[in-house]
Assembly symmetry: none
Homo-oligomer: 254 residues x 2
């Protein structure tokens, strides 16, 4: 897989229309930056710039500093080829309704060629019919029907998260760097374990198979590292040493 192209994320605008609380603008900027988005557009924010926005942005002050403040939604959407409005499900609008994951795929496809936008309305009233009319589709987050009102920045986080996951397609995290034990090491550990359990008289040496099978199953589910095999064998050696000093179980009764 080739690495995902950062230009795609740079072509995705987050547009916040008529936001009431400056803290939400800052929190939205932080949500965007954690997912690699940077293009914030503010349509008639009630209060901006503002110290509460700065505080909630944490280390995303650069996103706030570069935010475009616009007087109309049309201005914020200038140059975009696709705008999707984020809204609770609405019966009065018969637009195409996308899930966040579907919208992410759509936006990234378009973003290869042109800027695109996700549009979020006011905290109390959401997007107006007029604002929705300027969008080509509606994104709805499947929420609890009894309480579907996500905080504005939380909605920005969910959408930005889905954009990033789609962009990554497959999490590109490297596998944990285990220094895996070899199969031979592990077999030697099992042999050591079986010997020790027999010496401890925990295992019936005549029919050890069932218990050993259970123990193999346990350790097969994990992936033993070299160091872990050494630790486990050290423990077995300690137990063997103790048992040799102790003698057979019935020694005391003799």
């Amino acid at each position: 897989m080739t690495p995902a192209d950062p230009k795609l994320l740079a072509n995705i605008r987050i547009v916040l229309a008529r936001t009431s609380h400056p803290g939400n603008i800052g929190a939205a900027a932080r949500a965007m930056k954690t997912m690699g988005l940077s293009r914030l557009y503010l349509v008639q924010p009630h209060v901006f710039p503002n110290s509460q926005a700065d505080a909630m942005a944490a280390s995303a002050g650069d996103v706030l500093a570069q935010a475009q403040v616009c007087t109309t939604l049309a201005e914020a959407l200038e140059g975009t080829s696709l705008a999707l409005g984020v809204s609770a499900r609405r019966r009065d609008i018969v637009a195409e309704v996308l899930t966040p994951a579907e919208s992410a795929a759509r936006l990234l496809t378009e973003a290869q060629a042109e800027p695109v936008a996700l549009v979020f309305g006011n905290e109390t009233n959401g997007l107006s019919n007029d604002q929705l009319g300027q969008c080509q589709g509606l994104v709805t987050i499947a929420a609890n029907p009894e309480y579907s009102s996500l905080n504005l920045a939380a909605a920005v986080q969910v959408l930005s998260y889905e954009v990033r996951q789609a962009w990554l397609q497959h999490p590109s995290w490297p596998e944990p760097e285990l220094d895996a034990a070899s199969l031979e090491d592990i077999e030697r550990f099992y042999a050591h374990l079986e010997t020790t359990l027999a010496e401890l008289e925990f295992l019936n040496p005549g029919s050890p198979s069932k218990l050993m099978l259970k123990l193999r199953r346990l350790f097969a589910r994990t992936r033993l590292e070299k160091e872990e095999v050494n630790i486990l064998r050290g423990i077995l050696t300690s137990a063997q040493e103790a048992k040799r000093l102790a003698g057979p179980r019935n020694r005391m009764a003799e």
Copy 2:
């Protein structure tokens, strides 16, 4: 499609450990409720209850009112069969690392039988090694490597969102395959292991933490069944018995 079972969501706990800002507790409660989650556990919150928490909860005051305040993480996890810690990727912990979507599937599968938990650490420091040691797996949100620090409530929103999407997509989950040991059983096994290793003089009782952390890591990667815990504790008892008969290591030299 039959509707998904609400009992599954009721079996999922959101555990916030040592949260500094009460506003984040309220915002997390709102995030949970919008996704149908209701079981909030607070381990040593710095300030709670609090008016800022109430304000940020909006209409999720019921989730706050029912929140369980605990003095230890162990208390918050009591009765759970699976706890997953949410954390940025950490090189020092080689636990199984799940995506939010994978963790949602895992949690819902287990939640058919027993309560399960998602554990979130402090805003500044995240989860401590000790806290992660009490979790069976790590959930990491694939974020911008240059700024991966999601706000606490935003992280709760993303995980709760993935839980709800998974829950909506699958009206039924496969039965949990394992007869999983409870966290209490596993903690008792660790305590037994530590005691035994000290008795075997394999462990320095003055500083047992590093080796025990390594052993916890090993067993956290597997998911111990009840029967396996019994077998392992039987082995420990045999070793203890042998050691008691053998006496201290330097006995022969005396």
